[in-house]
């Protein structure tokens, strides 16, 4: 086994008490194997189940005992078979002994790899730890576990235990669980081991780190307090997004007969002076430019090199400040961790002193960092203490990037206290909200916190790997539905919501929300920069009593209201145009009937106003010209006479920029014969 390969033995409890969760165990294990097949193809895996009727392991053969432990697969390089194996774990019939299984697994690792490969050997135990363990031949269980732990530490075997919390409805022996918890904690304290307790299938899927990434330092050097006092530190990523694998593009151009076709696609970039020419510019014929105002400023590589900001690798302390000075939402990126150089004991102590004192006095440190020499920029960030709860783990700092002045966009928002009283909750409503915030509780006690980020898997990745597996078996496999377990992050926990049902009902009753029935696109835009307070009052003024806004014609009875309702509809793009054309028809009808002159004028004014708001001056101007001609043709000039008194004019440029009509001409319209406005 070479560098950066891992040997893993899975120890899965398949006893009767585990049956209900085994489908999820199979899922998480198969995800682990799939990722190994893609990212760590040379990793080796063995699988042991315990709690089975069958017994099949080397220790049982050689020295006896170790019953009900079945080695499904000896340690070997991951392959497609391993997926099938973990997807179809046998269902056991007896209660298994996890300590025995642990010894079998350890034995396998040691026999395969010997004493070398420290830290590359890993055991993963999945159990509910509810079955009793056998007493050892000699000594106590504690002693036995301590021996195992010491052996694991000596061999450099890492271990993680994922323990399904027992369902309290099932009869379980509290004493056994307590003892097992104690034994597991003994292991954790004395070996490189950790124990994770999970309660839901979701956290089971999240508990196992399925993607193995070799941690790489992004900085090794000095944390400089001042030029004479330096602490040696290493910096790693603490958080980094796990992404979908980068899929390659596929070319289907190669003839089907070509057995050796790679089906790869290359991407070429051509730099051309303009679109017509086929001539490409050579690299030395082009130069980088940056936008500066309306200009693009060319900068040659030489200029860039001599003029650019130069940095020197290092972490420099700027000072300390109160933790309350750095609000949580200023953290800009994924998080780094700063650990003392493990070979420098004094640095470990120095970090410990500062971290502990920071925690004690609620302070944080501000540092300026350049991770690499020649890096083009600096970062300013905050160190917060990470005081270790485990004795064998050195104290460290978390590092978060803080924003520069240029990164902040400060907008003022209205104070809640200054909003109108009708927008604010009253005492009774506040009490209801308090109750909801208290009772819809995801962390009733620190130990029982649910939806911990540490235990929450990424639903999209889960689905991708599931789909990948299906597709590998059948090309036209359908996309699988979202796994049931993920409902717990996408919806409220049904159990929690049913417990808090009365609170939810009260909340619903106290906080009535309703859709704003009418919303004018235009007024929304005009008022965008005003505070939301004034905004909506205006909106309400143009709210009419039509119960539902599904007006699609401008009727005879209330044409103006119909029109305004219609033009403010937002369930489609062309309601504005439809409304305008409906209104035009209505106006023409009204004009033709000489008894409805007032109504016609009213409609025309509404149309004009709307066309200004919607910036549709042409539609109105053309229509007005048309109307003008029409009236003259049909001797309806009594209607035209009202234009001046009602101030009906063409819409000039000053009212709507798109208009072709200059301001002075807008008024002329009614008196003079129309020149050539219609285009």
């Amino acid at each position: 086994m070479a560098r950066n390969r891992e040997g893993l033995v899975l120890l899965v409890d398949v006893g009767p008490a585990m049956h209900s969760v085994l489908p999820d165990v199979e899922k998480t294990c198969s995800l682990l194997m799939q990722k190994k097949l893609i990212y760590n193809k040379f990793d080796e895996v063995g699988i042991i189940v315990f709690g089975t009727q069958e017994t099949e392991n080397e220790l049982a053969r050689d020295i006896g005992g170790y019953d009900n432990i079945w080695v499904l697969r000896n340690i070997k390089v991951v392959d497609e078979l391993v997926i099938d194996r973990v997807k179809q774990l046998p269902r056991g019939t007896v209660a298994g002994d996890f300590l025995d299984a642990l010894i079998v697994g350890m034995d396998m690792l040691i026999k395969t790899y010997g004493a070398g490969q420290r830290g590359k050997k890993r055991l993963c135990l999945i159990t509910n730890a509810a079955s009793p363990t056998k007493d050892p031949f000699e000594g106590t269980k504690d002693e036995q576990v301590s021996t195992i732990a010491a052996k694991m530490a000596a061999e450099g075997i890492k271990m993680e235990s994922i323990v399904m919390k027992a369902d309290p409805s099932v009869d379980v022996d509290e004493k056994i669980i307590e003892e097992n918890d104690h034994l597991l904690s003994l292991l954790s304290n004395n070996a490189i081991a950790k124990t994770v307790y999970v309660e839901s299938p979701l956290s089971l899927l999240g508990a196992l780190k399925t993607r193995r990434v070799a941690p790489v330092t992004l900085f090794r050097g000095d944390l400089e307090i001042n030029p004479s006092m330096k602490i040696k530190v290493w910096v790693y990523k603490k958080v980094a997004e796990e992404r979908l694998p980068s899929l390659k593009m596929y070319s289907d151009k190669a003839p089907p007969s070509d057995k050796f076709a790679k089906h790869e696609v290359k991407i070429d970039y051509d730099y051309k002076v303009n679109e017509e020419t086929s001539e490409a510019l050579a690299p030395e014929e082009r130069i980088k430019g940056f936008r500066y105002g309306p200009h693009v400023i060319p900068i040659s590589p030489d200029e860039m090199e001599t003029l650019k900001f130069k940095t020197e690798k290092g972490m420099k302390l700027l000072g300390f400040t109160d933790a309350s000075n750095i609000l949580r939402h200023y953290y800009m990126k994924d998080v780094n961790i700063v650990v003392p150089d493990p070979s420098k004991e004094k640095s470990v102590i120095a970090v410990s002193a500062i971290a502990r004192e920071m925690k004690q006095s609620n302070k944080v440190a501000i540092v300026r960092c350049v991770w690499r020499n020649g890096q083009g920029n600096v970062v300013v960030g905050v160190l917060t203490p990470n005081v270790s709860e485990r004795d064998d783990t050195p104290d460290s700092f978390y590092f978060n990037v803080l924003p520069f002045a240029e990164d902040i966009r400060e907008f003022p928002f209205p104070s809640f206290s200054r909003l109108p009283a009708s927008w604010k909750p009253d005492e009774q409503q506040q009490a209801v909200a308090d109750n909801l915030v208290k009772m819809l509780d995801l962390a009733p006690s620190p130990k029982e916190e649910v939806l911990k980020p540490e235990l929450t898997p990424n639903p999209v990745l889960q689905r991708f790997y599931e789909y990948l597996e299906l597709k590998s078996r059948s090309t036209d496999a359908a996309l699988p539905p979202m796994d049931e377990a993920f409902k717990r992050i996408m919806e409220q926990d049904p159990e929690l919501s049913s417990n808090t049902k009365s609170i939810m009902d009260t909340f619903r009753g106290s906080f009535e929300v309703k859709e704003n029935p009418k919303l004018r696109k235009a007024s929304k835009r005009m008022l965008r920069d005003k505070p939301s307070g004034s905004d909506d009052e205006d909106n309400r003024m143009i709210t009419y009593n039509a119960n539902e806004n599904n007006v699609d014609t401008v009727g005879d009875a209330n044409p103006v209201q119909d029109f305004e309702a219609m033009i403010s509809r937002r369930d489609g793009n062309d309601w504005v145009n439809k409304a305008i054309s409906e209104m035009k028809k209505r106006v023409v009808k009204l004009v033709e009937d000489s008894s409805t002159t007032d109504k016609a004028l009213e409609c025309l004014l509404a149309l004009r106003k709307a066309c200004v708001l919607e910036q549709e001056p042409k539609q109105f101007n053309e229509f007005l010209n048309h109307l003008h001609e029409l009236c003259q043709e049909r001797k309806l000039s009594h209607f035209l006479e009202h234009f001046t008194s009602k101030k009906i004019t063409l819409i000039p440029k000053s009212e709507a920029a798109d208009s072709d009509v200059v301001d002075e001409k807008a008024g002329d319209f009614t008196v003079k014969e129309e020149p050539n406005l219609e285009s």
């Binding site: 603490k238 082009r286 430019g289 105002g293 509780d441």
Partner: protein, 618 residues
């Protein structure tokens, strides 16, 4: 369905949110800076940062200069104009007295800011009196009204562009709260009426007028005398939206900075509190890393932009092809194929809504629970009436109880669990420091978190910890190195500043670009104060002891060297060399020997073998 394959296949690198902030033509802004240049602006002063007295005119001009620089960097599509009123000279298309439109001859009256304009404006104060001159334009017997004229000119400038696609604003700087105060009452009424009408006309055209008043040290700018009507404020709003502008230059700059950036909603978000209660929120990206902008390739002889064409070439046949719609993932001896549509479907696991899941105490939100910059949430009743009320109620409860909300947010790729942390409003003399609302913090998934601590644990071996004395010294050190008045946004990004200084210098053909001050370096002077030096020395001594220069290795390094030697020892290199079997080892295995013996690791396998042989033969 519209499908952009690039977008679908892109590996979550780009948050669609960030694209929102790339400037689009549709969201451009037209701004006229209208500056009162009356003699009063020159004679009134305010204390500046370093306690010097600065004239109001200087304050206004330097605010605008700073604002112009941010326009050219961040929002180069915006078009701006600078216009003085109450000037001796006149320069405007309307030929109105007392109004002077300041411009760079190469620009249109209202245009995108250029390097030249910024440079000229930077030094405008030197020549202002001589070239433009200050002269009160409102004189009772002449019926001249420079404020009226100024608004007219500004409105005319802003005629450009459709108000459909652009925001149009006038920023008015003045220290005269009662411009017609000295008039006879009838004239005053008349002038007030016409001026207000002028302002109203502008507002009716979708132009908003924003006032940046400058106060006299002994007399507060009284907005109720005249300007409240001009900018259309009534009763309540008066106190709400006219926070008392401080008298300092910095406050003014701050005010302008906040107002110049139009408030942009990054996203409308539906927040589902429980079944039947969904409220409407607006998400704002208040914090996003500023970057030097994208590179445009130019032809090096003409400096004209060139066309970049991307072509896809089949590696097997060399044929140029359309962008392929299929992607492959090698998996167990085969290539599994996905189409763009399948991948996009796969990622669509939820609607884009924000779904409340429950609440936790703030202590559950760890410092490493962070993926990317937060998003600020503020309620709106625009579409759902009652949103603000429900939001405020939750906001208050969360602050009161010290809890944050956990929610699932489908609006990012991939969808994430988020923490909603309620933020109370924080105000200072200069205005709002933190707006009230909730900050949405993106939480990592389990596989995004790495267990580095475990890697650095030595099982059963207690890690060294600081002693009480060392803690005491650390405490003294921290007290001495306390940063006074630290605020997160106090540093300018030195790399970015340098970049823009460089662009400006090249744009204006300047030889010297000057030094950009790196504010992020430690305060040398402060660090060298004897008390500070002493505290650091004492801390150092408590950790490193007297022998302070070089820290002694605690032996681990030696151990690691030994380990490497032991690894190499897995093979008997002497035996292998003799039998000529070194070549059967892998490069990695060969390197273990080289590492263990501190030999160079470079070169091909043959070189490595030769190096080992040479070493063995010594």
């Amino acid at each position: 369905m519209e499908l952009d394959p690039e977008d679908v296949f892109r590996d979550e690198d780009e948050d669609p949110e960030s694209q929102f902030f790339q400037e689009k033509e549709a969201s451009k802004e037209f701004v006229v800076y209208l500056i009162d240049a009356s003699p009063k602006m020159f004679s009134s002063t305010c204390p500046s940062e370093d306690e010097k007295q600065e004239s109001h005119f200087h304050i206004a001009v330097s605010c605008i200069a700073q604002s112009l620089k941010s326009h050219i960097i961040n929002r180069f599509n915006d078009e701006i104009a600078i216009c003085f009123f109450n000037t001796r000279e006149k320069k405007n298309l309307q030929e109105l007295n007392g109004v002077y439109v300041f411009n760079d001859p190469q620009r249109e009256c209202i245009d995108r800011p250029t390097a030249r304009l910024i440079k000229d404006f930077d030094v405008i104060e030197e020549s202002f009196i001589e070239n433009i001159g200050s002269q009160n334009g409102i004189v009772s017997d002449s019926r001249e009204n420079s404020l009226y004229s100024a608004l007219w000119v500004a409105q005319a400038l802003l005629r450009k562009g459709s108000s459909k696609t652009a925001d149009k604003r006038i920023f008015l700087f003045t220290n005269e709260d009662d411009p017609f105060g000295s008039m006879r009452i009838s004239v005053k009424e008349d002038m007030t009426r016409t001026t207000l009408q002028r302002a109203k006309d502008a507002q009716d055209l979708g132009i908003s007028i924003e006032l940046l008043p400058l106060s006299h040290p002994d007399k507060q700018f009284d907005i109720s005398l005249f300007y409240k009507d001009l900018i259309g404020l009534n009763g309540d709003e008066l106190t709400e939206f006219m926070p008392s502008v401080g008298q300092k230059l910095e406050d003014m700059k701050d005010q302008l900075k906040k107002r110049v950036l139009a408030k942009r909603i990054a996203k409308r978000i539906t927040f589902m509190i429980c079944d039947g209660v969904s409220i409407e929120l607006n998400g704002y990206a208040l914090l996003r890393p500023a970057t030097p902008g994208t590179i445009t390739w130019l032809d090096s002889t003409t400096n004209l932009p060139i066309k970049v064409e991307r072509s896809y070439v089949c590696a097997d046949t060399g044929a140029i092809m359309q962008e392929p719609i299929q992607r492959i993932q090698p998996y167990i001896n085969q290539n599994v194929m996905f189409t763009a549509a399948e991948l996009s479907e796969l990622k669509k696991i939820t609607t884009g809504h924000l779904r409340l899941l429950g609440f936790k105490p703030l202590s559950c939100l760890k410092d490493y629970h962070n993926m990317k910059p937060s998003t600020f949430l503020y309620p709106t009743d625009k579409e759902v009436i009652g949103s603000t009320r429900a939001f405020i109620a939750l906001h208050r409860s969360m602050i009161q109880l010290g809890r944050f909300a956990v929610a699932f947010y489908g609006g990012t790729t991939p969808p994430r669990l988020v923490a909603l942390v309620a933020q109370d409003e924080i105000e200072s003399d200069g205005g709002q420091v933190e707006p009230p609302g909730m900050n949405m913090i993106y939480l990592p998934y389990s596989n995004d978190i790495r267990d580095i601590e475990e890697l650095h644990s030595k099982p059963g071996v207690a890690a060294p910890r600081a002693s009480d004395d060392q803690l005491k010294k650390a405490s003294a050190l921290m007290r001495r190195l306390e940063l006074k008045d630290f605020s997160v946004c106090q540093f300018a990004n030195p790399a970015l500043q340098r970049h823009y200084a460089m662009l400006q210098a090249i744009a204006l053909d300047q030889e010297d670009i000057g030094e950009t001050r790196d504010e992020t370096l430690p305060d040398k002077e402060g660090m060298n104060r004897p008390t500070v030096v002493k505290a650091i020395e004492e801390f150092k001594e408590s950790i490193y002891g007297d022998d302070s220069e070089e820290e002694s290795d605690s032996g681990a390094k030696e151990k690691s060297r030994k380990r490497k030697a032991a690894d190499a020892g897995d093979y008997d290199f002497v035996e292998l060399a003799k039998s000529g079997k070194l070549k059967d080892l892998t490069v990695v295995e060969l390197k273990t020997y080289l590492t263990a013996n501190s030999l160079p690791l470079g070169g091909k396998k043959d070189a490595l073998i030769n190096r080992i042989l040479a070493h063995l033969s010594k």
